[in-house]
């Protein structure tokens, strides 16, 4: 074992892997360091450097101080917007997807494979094909420029993913289990609560992580259907860099970027295994 570790080919492998890992980490390290340097320090040198004075105040400014388009409340209101969209939409789409996945895989009803096939087409239909209709629908039902409108969109569109994930998981549950429960007189919901849901935690974790990450990171709908104070944080970041392009404040901006990325990064850190499972499950379809 020891001489294998010393073989030149092993050293080369470790060298290349470390180099690649460093390249992959570099952007994150650069932003974290920048978020702790003063704007002046960055302006004098470059974006890449070690902090001379630790400027923790960047985070306070980014959180609740700097101005985007005449409103000086920092990134906090937009983070709140993103949370108010992402959390309900994740819960609704996951729950409805679990019920739908259970219905098409185990309960079976007339037309189930047809409707399931159409719903999964949503994985492929580009957002651009839905932009105008959503704009018109949201305006007609009075939900344009509201967080509720975004929750509605992400719930309905998320169903394509959540139904697929859950259906593929539930297919493996033996039908005899359901048949036996039905003979005992259990109905649709009782079987779901008593038998299906207790078996579902792995797939529900995957689905929740997947939905949360995607809705939190979503940009196009946020920027199209909301303006000003109603925007989610991704859209606000773009507005921020446009608003202060003349006098850049890269320290504060870096802190804002870190704060905006933190929720999904933390979820990845603690649920990485499930995140990757969702990634590969989504790809194989």
């Amino acid at each position: 074992m020891r001489d294998r570790a010393l073989a030149p080919s092993r050293i080369l492998i470790y060298f290349v892997v470390s180099l690649m890992a460093a390249a992959w980490l570099a952007p994150l390290v650069v932003v974290v360091l920048n978020s702790l340097r003063t704007n002046e320090e960055i302006a004098q040198a470059s974006m890449i450097g070690w902090p001379k004075h630790w400027a923790w105040s960047n985070y306070a400014a980014a959180w609740s101080g700097f101005c985007v388009a005449e409103t000086c409340a920092g990134i906090r209101p937009y983070m709140l917007n993103s949370a108010l969209v992402t959390i309900p939409a994740t819960i609704f789409s996951t729950l409805l997807g679990a019920i739908a996945g259970y219905a098409v895989s185990l309960w079976r009803f007339r037309g189930d494979s047809w409707i399931y096939g159409i719903v999964t087409l949503g994985l492929f239909l580009p957002q651009q094909m839905r932009l105008l209709p959503w704009t018109i629908v949201l305006r007609d039902i009075g939900l344009i420029n509201t967080l509720t409108g975004l929750v509605l969109i992400h719930t309905i569109q998320g169903l394509s993913f959540t139904t697929l994930f859950c259906r593929n998981y539930y297919v493996a549950i033996p039908h005899e289990l359901i048949r036996a429960a039905r003979i005992d007189g259990a109905g649709f919901f009782r079987i779901f609560w008593r038998i299906i849901l207790p078996l579902s935690s792995p797939i529900l974790i995957v689905t929740v992580i997947w939905q949360f990450t995607h809705i939190w990171n979503e940009f196009l709908y946020g920027v199209t259907f909301t303006t000003g104070q109603q925007q989610p944080v991704t859209a606000a970041l773009i507005a921020l860099s446009a608003a202060i392009a003349d006098i850049p404040k890269h320290g504060v901006q870096s802190a804002a970027v870190i704060i905006a990325a933190l929720p999904t990064l933390l979820i990845y850190l603690f649920g990485g295994r499930y995140f990757v499972r969702g990634l590969t499950a989504g790809a194989v379809k």
Binding site: I13, V17, M20, W24, P27, L28, V30, V31, I42, S46, M47, I48, G49, A100, A103, V104, I115, I118, V119, G122, F124, P126, Q127, Q128, M129, R130, L131, L132, P133, I136, I156, Q157, L159, S160, T163, G187, F188, F189, W216, N217, F219, L220, T224, T234, L237, I238, S241, H250, V257, A260, A261, T264, L265, I267, Y268, G272, L279, T280, A283, V284
Partner: protein, 309 residues
């Protein structure tokens, strides 16, 4: 169950009481699925319909035939976007495939800290394209990023200004996209490498094949179905790429890094040319179908072959 049957026969209306009793479950099954399916179909038809109308600021009825399509196809904006898509799509897909495969093979060498390394190559996928695009726009900005750093270190003739160079700017998007999505290719390839039959590898080694030859002749050929999946998923991303470009170059300098998704947004919401915007969206869908339909046919044939074998 027996209670229900008893009351039903007493009342003599078994069908109706059954339906009423089961109404909540019908609603829970059908309403979400129908909403999802209906919005997919009706929104597609709706956008296609708008693309044939003379709509500008608001959707109006009327029929202009293919005029919106010819206008979009003739515009410099779309032509540049399409050329960029061809270049960006092929370069990004090819390079992320190579990078992902290389990473997977390296991680497959029973190295230490494999889990940590895998997490490092995958973390960009958990972050929004807006964030990564913004960060890369700083790093690649010659005035404040890598070029400035190298200048400050003393090499003053160093140039790395692709971000502001019309001919090279598209490559900055390629770089950022590879950094963000190669981990995905790596994860799929690694799963593929791990599922290669150990007996085949052993047989090759007994036949005297070295590690490189074993990879090239025995292991890699088993990966081609995964390769096709990776290509299709990455192409799907490239065709609809929007956030990353919006944050990194915003289509600039000028319109040098324009991509179809940006043209759609620009026509619909900045120039108020709804008809043309819808036509551009339909063109995007057609490009996507040119990738997805052959893939679906291939998957279908594979499945049929698997059943017959």
């Amino acid at each position: 169950m027996t209670d229900v049957v008893a009351t039903a026969t007493q009342q003599g209306r078994p069908a109706i009481s059954g339906v009423v009793r089961r109404l909540p479950e019908y609603l829970m099954i059908w309403v979400p699925l129908l909403l999802s399916a209906a919005h997919l179909i009706s929104f597609s038809i709706w956008t296609i319909w708008i693309s044939f109308t003379p709509s500008t600021l608001v959707p109006v009825s009327g029929w202009v035939g293919l005029r919106n399509y010819t206008a979009v196809l003739a515009s410099r904006n779309w032509q540049i976007a399409f050329d960029n898509l061809l270049l960006f799509g092929s370069a990004f897909v090819l390079l992320s495939l190579v990078t992902g495969l290389m990473l997977a093979i390296l991680l497959d060498q029973r190295i230490r800290a494999e889990n940590v390394l895998r997490s490092i190559f995958l973390y960009p996928l958990a972050v929004s394209f807006v964030v990564t695009g913004t960060v890369w726009s700083w790093l690649l900005n010659p005035g404040i990023g890598i070029e400035k750093l190298v200048h400050d270190l003393g090499w003053t003739s160093f140039r790395f200004d692709w971000l502001v160079d019309r001919d090279m700017a598209i490559w900055t998007i390629v770089i950022a996209a590879i950094w963000q999505s190669s981990g995905f290719a790596m994860a799929l390839f690694l799963a593929g490498l791990r599922s290669v039959d150990a007996d085949i590898i052993k047989a090759a080694q007994i036949d005297g094949a070295g590690p490189i030859r074993t990879y090239w002749r025995v292991i890699l050929p088993t990966l081609w179905p995964i390769t096709i999946t990776v290509v299709v998923v990455q192409l799907q991303f490239a065709i609809s790429a929007f956030d990353l470009v919006r944050a990194l170059t915003n289509g600039g300098p000028g319109i040098a890094t324009q991509l179809p998704a940006l043209v759609v947004y620009d026509l619909m919401f900045q120039r108020s040319q709804l008809g043309r915007g819808a036509a551009a969206a339909v063109l995007m869908l057609l490009i996507l179908l040119a990738v997805l339909l052959p893939y679906a046919a291939w998957r279908y044939l594979q499945r049929r072959r698997a059943i017959h074998a």
